[in-house]
Amino acid sequence: MAIRERLSGNEAVAYAIKQINPDVMPAFPITPSTEIPQYVANYIANGEIDTEFIHVESEHSAMSATIGASAAGARAITATSSCGMALMWEELYVAASNRLPIVLALVNRALSGPININADHSDSMGARDTGWIQIYAESNQEVYDNFIQAFPIAEDKRVHLPVMVCQDGFITSHGVENILLAEDIEVQKFVGGYEPEHYLLNASEKMAIGPYAVSNYYMETKRAQRQAMVNAREVILEVAARFEKMTGRKYSFFEEYQMEDAEYAVVIIGSAAGTCKAAIDEIRSTTGKKVGLIKIRVFRPFPEEEIAKALSKVKAVAIMDRSEMFAATSGPLGAEVRAALYQARMAPEVVNYFYGLGGRDITVSDFKTVYRNLETIAKTHIVTDMYEYIGLRREQKEV
C-alpha cells in the first residue's frame, strides 16, 4: 500500500535515502540542497539508518570521499547544487571513468555570477559531458521516483555509471506537494542489496583504481564509457517497467503530453513543464488548437531517435532551455533536439527560447505566447530570432 504524504522535494529525496539506507554519504551544505544532508544527519542521530555521514570540508572533498567509499565497496551517495557541483567538476569525470555507481541528488541552481540561489539548469547542463546519467523531474513525486530508480540503473552490470537525479531548486526542493511513497520493504526489494564485483576491501582480490593511462590505453576507456551509456538506455526502460509494476507510475525517457495530434510542441525539462501543461489545457479547451509538450526526463543518455519520432508530425517546435551555453546559437537542449531532427531528416520550424534563468518565473501566459509564436512561425516560415529570451525585464521583443 502506498503511503499518502505531503513532502517537499528535498524531504522526498531524504525519505528515499532513509528507505534505501545507503552505506556512506559525504556531503557539504549548499542552498538549496542543504536540507537533504540535514535530514539524513537527523535520521542517523536518531538511529533510524546506519549510513555513515562524512562531514567533508568542501564539495570537491564530498565527491572525492564518495568516490573513495564507492571504490571501497560501499553504496555511496551525495547531494549538492550549483557552485558545489562546479567545485566537484573534476571529480565527476573521475567517478564516471572509474565506473562507480554513485547517486547524486542534484538540486538545480544557477551558477555564479552574479551569485544567485534560485533554479536554473546551468549546473547540471555544465556537467552534461562528464559521463553521468542525468534524470530530471517535474514534481516532488518524480524526484522521489527517479531517486529510487537511480540505484538499479547505476548498479546494473551493463551500465556501472553514476547517476545525477536533478530537481529544480526551491520550486520542487522546497515546495510541498502531495506525494505517494512506497513502503520501505517495497523500496528495499526494488533497489536490492549492493553486491559489487570488484572493490578495494575485497579480501579475496586486490585491486588498483585510478591508473595513469597513456595514449595507448586512454581512448578505449572512453569507448567503454560510451558503451555503458548506450547500454543505459535499455536498463533505464527496464527499471522503469519494474517501477511501474510496483507503483503504477509510468516512466520513460520523456513524457508526451497532448502530443497525439499536436501541431505545435514545446520541448522542456523540469518543473516548468507543469506550467506548460496548464497552458496547454487552457488553449485546447478555449481554442481547440492542437498544442502539446515533450518533457525530457533523461537527458543523458540523450533519447535522440525517440524525440525525433515524437516530433515527427508537428509543424513548429519551441525548445526551451533553462541555461545558457553561450554558443550564441542555441542552448544545450536546443542543440540536441535540433541535431535529433536533422538526423531524422525532419525540418519542422524550430525556435530556441531561454527562460527561467536564476529562478525567473515563467507563467501560463508566457507559454500561451510561445504557442502563439509557433503558430505564426508555422504560417509564415519566418523565424526572426532563433535564440530568444522569454521574460526579460526590457520590453520583450516580438518574435
Partner: protein, 312 residues
C-alpha cells in the same frame, strides 16, 4: 605492536610491498619513503594505499601495471585525504554491517605539492575528522612531477623553475611552511617528521606508530630528489644526514600533543654544509649573496629554538 628493539636486518628483509619495476628515477627519495613506511605494516595485515597525483602515482601505476602489492587508489592531485577518508569510512560501515571480516589499514602518500598546497584543505579535513588513517607526505620540496616548480615546502632561496635565480633574483623569496606543526595543531593523536638515517630506524618506528595508533596520523618525510635538488644520486644519504645535522630538517614527533625531539646533533653544523652540495643553492655561494646564507642560518636557528622549547 611497536617492537622494543629494532633489528635492521630483520626489518630490511621483510617482503617489499612496493614491487620493483616502477618507473621512478634512480635514487628517488619518494620510493624509499614508501617502501620504508609500508615495511612498518605487520606482515599479513591488509592495507589500502592511497596516492595523490604526482611523480609517485604516474610512475607506480601506469595502466596496466601496478607496483603495489596492496589494494590501491589514486583519485586526483588535491584530494588524497578526502579519497582515503571515503575508503576508511566505507570500511567501518561495511564491517559494522558484517560485510567484511578482515582488518585493513589505510595509508596515503602525497608529495609536498599535493599535501602542503593543492591538497592542504583535503588533508586538513581528513585529519580534523579523525579518520583512522595515515597521511604520508614525501616532501621533496617542489613540484617535481611537472619539473621542479616551487611549492610552499620549497626552502627559501632555492632555485626552481618558477623561482629561478637570476640577475635580480636569489631564488624563492619566502621561507618554507611548517606543515608538521600545522598538523600537530589539529590535535590528532600522532604526528611525526623524519627522513632517511643510516639504519632507517627513525622513519620505520614512526611509521609503525602512525599506522598502529588509532585515529588520524600524519608523517612528513623529507625525501630528496636528485634531479630537482641537483646532487649525485649516490649522495642522498649524506644529504639527509646534513639536513638533520644542520637542523634544517629536525626529526620530531608529537604524540597526543606532547612534542618529542628525536635527534639532537652533537655538533650542530652550519647551514652551508647542507646547501653547498646542492645545485639549487649554488647561487648563494656567490660573493654578493653571503648575507643570504646568514639569513638562512638565522631562520634555521630561530625555528630550532622554537622546536626545542616545544619539546621541553
Amino acid at each position: 605492536m611497536e617492537k622494543t628493539t629494532y633489528n635492521f636486518k630483520e626489518v630490511m628483509s621483510k617482503p617489499e610491498r612496493l614491487a620493483p619495476g616502477h618507473r621512478m628515477c634512480a635514487g628517488c627519495g619518494g620510493t624509499i619513503a614508501v617502501r620504508t613506511v609500508l615495511r612498518a605494516l605487520e606482515e599479513g595485515d591488509r592495507a589500502v594505499i592511497g596516492n595523490a597525483t604526482g611523480c609517485l602515482e604516474v610512475s607506480s601505476f601506469m595502466y596496466p601495471y601496478t607496483a603495489y602489492e596492496d589494494s590501491y587508489i589514486h583519485n586526483a592531485f588535491e584530494n588524497a585525504g578526502a579519497t582515503l577518508s571515503g575508503v576508511e569510512t566505507a570500511y567501518h560501515v561495511l564491517k559494522k554491517k558484517g560485510k567484511i571480516q578482515e582488518n585493513f589499514k589505510f595509508i596515503t602518500f602525497g608529495g609536498d605539492g599535493g599535501t602542503y598546497d593543492i591538497g592542504f584543505q583535503s588533508l586538513s579535513g581528513a585529519m580534523e575528522r579523525g579518520h583512522d588513517m595515515v597521511y604520508v607526505c614525501y616532501d621533496n620540496g617542489a613540484y617535481m612531477n611537472t619539473g621542479t616548480q616551487r611549492s610552499s615546502a620549497t626552502p627559501q632561496y632555492a632555485d626552481t623553475t618558477t623561482t629561478p635565480a637570476g640577475k635580480v633574483s636569489a631564488g624563492k623569496v619566502q621561507v618554507r611552511k611548517d606543515l608538521a606543526a600545522i598538523m600537530a595543531e589539529h590535535h590528532i593523536p600522532y604526528v611525526g617528521q623524519s627522513t632517511f638515517t643510516s639504519n632507517f630506524k627513525d622513519l620505520y618506528t614512526k611509521a609503525q606508530k602512525a599506522i598502529y595508533t588509532p585515529g588520524a596520523a600524519f608523517l612528513n618525510v623529507m625525501s630528496p630528489c636528485p634531479r630537482g635538488w641537483g646532487y649525485e644520486s649516490s649522495e642522498m644519504m649524506r644529504i639527509c644526514q646534513l639536513a638533520i645535522d644542520t637542523c634544517y630538517w629536525p626529526m620530531f614527533e608529537v604524540i597526543e600533543g606532547r612534542w618529542i625531539l628525536n635527534y639532537e646533533p652533537k655538533n650542530k653544523l652550519p647551514i652551508e654544509e647542507f646547501l653547498r652540495p646542492q645545485r639549487r643553492f649554488k647561487h648563494l655561494f656567490k660573493k654578493e649573496n653571503e648575507i643570504l646564507i646568514g639569513q638562512f642560518q638565522e631562520e634555521i636557528d630561530r625555528r630550532w629554538e622554537e622546536l626545542r622549547n616545544k619539546c621541553n
